[in-house]
């Protein structure tokens, strides 16, 4: 999974490194504006690249330079352990004088230290297995190469890395926007999870057996759950409904009419199912405690932590005391930004705090 995430000159993150090696789950805490969500935005950029967005202005824009420092490149580096191989992907963007749109300064994918391809501005050097000479070609410097470079087979490390990165979950659900309707099947939900119906359909098409897992998790939360149906209601159009039943009868509820918290339970269930079916995945969930009853927060967070213990990685942010309590000093990181003119700093909690984190957060005097 992710061993290292390095971000430089992107919004409030300068020379920022998230040390994820050895952690199956991690909590980011810190005041509003400290940079927790920005870590998710950085992951989202990498995820978008793997999902096929290659036009740079759809990824980063000049306003993303930290405090307007457009003379310094924006840089993302991610190091990932997958199937006993270490993948390292680097991309740096620059804004030369007179340019309105950023261009690629450097891009590189390496597996176990050997380059798959390396790029310097427009020039791409493609390593070809079994051949002494590398292939060279030019690419528009306003396009990212990763989505364009063709993989040879599903066992190609390039394919493995791209698929893994594309399936990374960066979640910031907005339940009010989730209708449960879908026109397609897919395994790559958007950040707000407004395409939940398509994700649910895609997951069950990919691995029908995972419904048992989803159902099992949800029944513990909602003992009157009978089943979830996803009927075709129009041409290539499905709509999720949830059926409840008890001794008094049966009730069918359109997904969109579930409460915000219940929709989050559904998202959690599908996340657990996704990691089981096509994991290991990395899941960054910005404030997973949102919309939940206080008695549920701890169970919710622990269900996710427990799932990712056996593979994958769960990264959460939170301000909620119950969520914070379900992490420990070795997997909690404090993000601090002293002012809007200074970058975010990060420290593991076990280096700065002895005692009650929740109390220290309430007092607001935690310093890195």
């Amino acid at each position: 999974m992710i061993r290292r995430l390095y971000i430089h000159n992107f919004r409030c993150l300068e020379n920022f490194e998230l040390p994820l090696a050895g952690h199956s789950s991690v909590l980011l805490v810190g005041k509003n504006g400290a940079g927790k969500t920005t870590v998710g935005l950085a992951l989202e950029i990498l995820q978008k690249i793997a999902r096929g967005t290659n036009r740079i202005d759809a990824l980063v824009t000049p306003k993303d330079f930290a405090r307007g420092h457009s003379d310094v490149p924006i840089r993302f580096e991610i190091e990932v352990a997958l199937e006993a191989k270490v993948y390292e992907y680097i991309i740096a963007f620059e804004l030369p004088e007179g340019f309105k749109e950023l261009r690629v300064l450097q891009e590189r994918l390496a597996v176990d230290g050997r380059p798959v391809y390396a790029r310097d501005k427009a020039q791409v050097h493609l390593a070809r297995a079994g051949q002494d000479q590398e292939a060279k070609f030019l690419i528009d410097w306003h396009l990212v190469a990763l989505p364009i470079v063709q993989e040879s087979s599903p066992s190609d490390p390039l394919f493995i890395f791209k698929q893994w990165l594309a399936r990374m979950l960066v979640l910031r659900p907005v339940p009010g926007l989730i209708s449960g309707e879908s026109e397609e099947e897919q395994l790559q939900p958007n950040t707000q999870v407004t395409d939940f119906g398509a994700w649910f359909s895609g997951l069950l098409a990919y691995s029908p057996a995972v419904y048992t897992r989803i159902d099992g998790y949800l029944r513990e939360l909602m003992p009157d759950l009978k089943d979830i149906k996803n009927p075709i209601v129009g041409k290539d159009f499905r709509s999720l409904t949830v059926q409840f039943s008890n001794q008094n009868g049966t009730l069918s509820v359109p997904f969109e009419d579930l409460s915000d918290g219940e929709k989050c339970f559904m998202i959690c269930a599908v996340t657990l199912g996704a990691n089981e079916a096509y994991g290991p995945v990395v899941c960054f969930w910005d404030e997973p405690d949102n919309y939940l009853a206080l008695s549920e927060v701890g169970h919710f967070v622990m269900a996710l932590r427990r799932e990712f213990e056996s593979g994958g990685q769960f990264i959460a942010t939170s301000h909620n005391p119950e969520a914070v309590r379900r992490f420990s000093e070795e997997n909690t990181f404090l993000l601090v930004r002293k002012s809007h003119l200074e970058p975010t700093t990060i420290r593991p909690l076990n280096q700065i705090l002895k005692g009650d984190l929740v109390s220290a957060l309430v007092q607001g005097d935690l310093e890195p």
Binding site: E220, L221, M222, P223, A293, S295, E296, G298, H299, M302, A303, R305, R306, E309, S310, P321, R325, R326, F327, S328, E329, E330, N331, G355, D356, L357, V358
Partner: protein, 164 residues
């Protein structure tokens, strides 16, 4: 739903942050019936555990007969603490209250056995597999009597059935 009050369930009440983290490790066991246990916020000292138990939780235990409580305290090398704590439990609740913890302070445990979560995981593994590798360590083996009761009454609520 959170724990079902009308079925057997366990409340864990940790003394401090270290015990809370031990409990976190325990909660990470993959076979845990997680909906049967709720770990409560830490209260800030072993005397506070007893005080909170009496003021906030004893009444609930009387009301909900299926509730078991595990009090996680530090013994601070005090041989009389267990009997003192037990004496604070109303007689009608004694068979549903369990008092366990490190012989000295959890910091000593951490120095010997790793992070609190790691220790919590190891204790859950011992419970699940009916072993004593971690429970038998120097700073935990004094819990033997309570652990025996725990295995009999609490663990069947937390783990569905014995591993194959």
């Amino acid at each position: 739903m959170s724990v079902n009050k009308y079925r057997p369930h366990v409340y864990g009440l940790p003394e401090d942050d270290a015990n809370r983290q031990l409990a976190n490790g325990f909660l990470l066991h993959p076979d845990l019936l997680a909906r049967n246990i709720q770990v409560l916020p830490e209260v800030g000292g072993w005397l506070e555990v007893l005080s909170h138990f009496k003021s906030e939780y004893a009444k609930g235990m009387e009301q909900y007969q299926q509730r078991l409580m595990v009090l996680l305290i530090d013994f601070d090398a005090d041989e009389t603490r267990l009997s003192y704590a037990q004496a604070c439990i109303p007689p009608a609740l004694k068979n549903r209250v369990f008092i366990i913890g490190a012989l000295t302070r959890p910091e000593g445990l951490r120095a010997q056995l790793g992070s609190y979560e790691t220790i919590g995981k190891a204790l859950a593994k011992d419970c699940r597999e009916n072993t004593n590798a971690t429970w038998g360590s120097d700073l935990l083996r004094h819990n033997e009597t309570e652990l025996r009761r725990l295995r009999q009454h609490v663990l069947p609520v937390l783990f569905a059935r014995a591993p194959q």
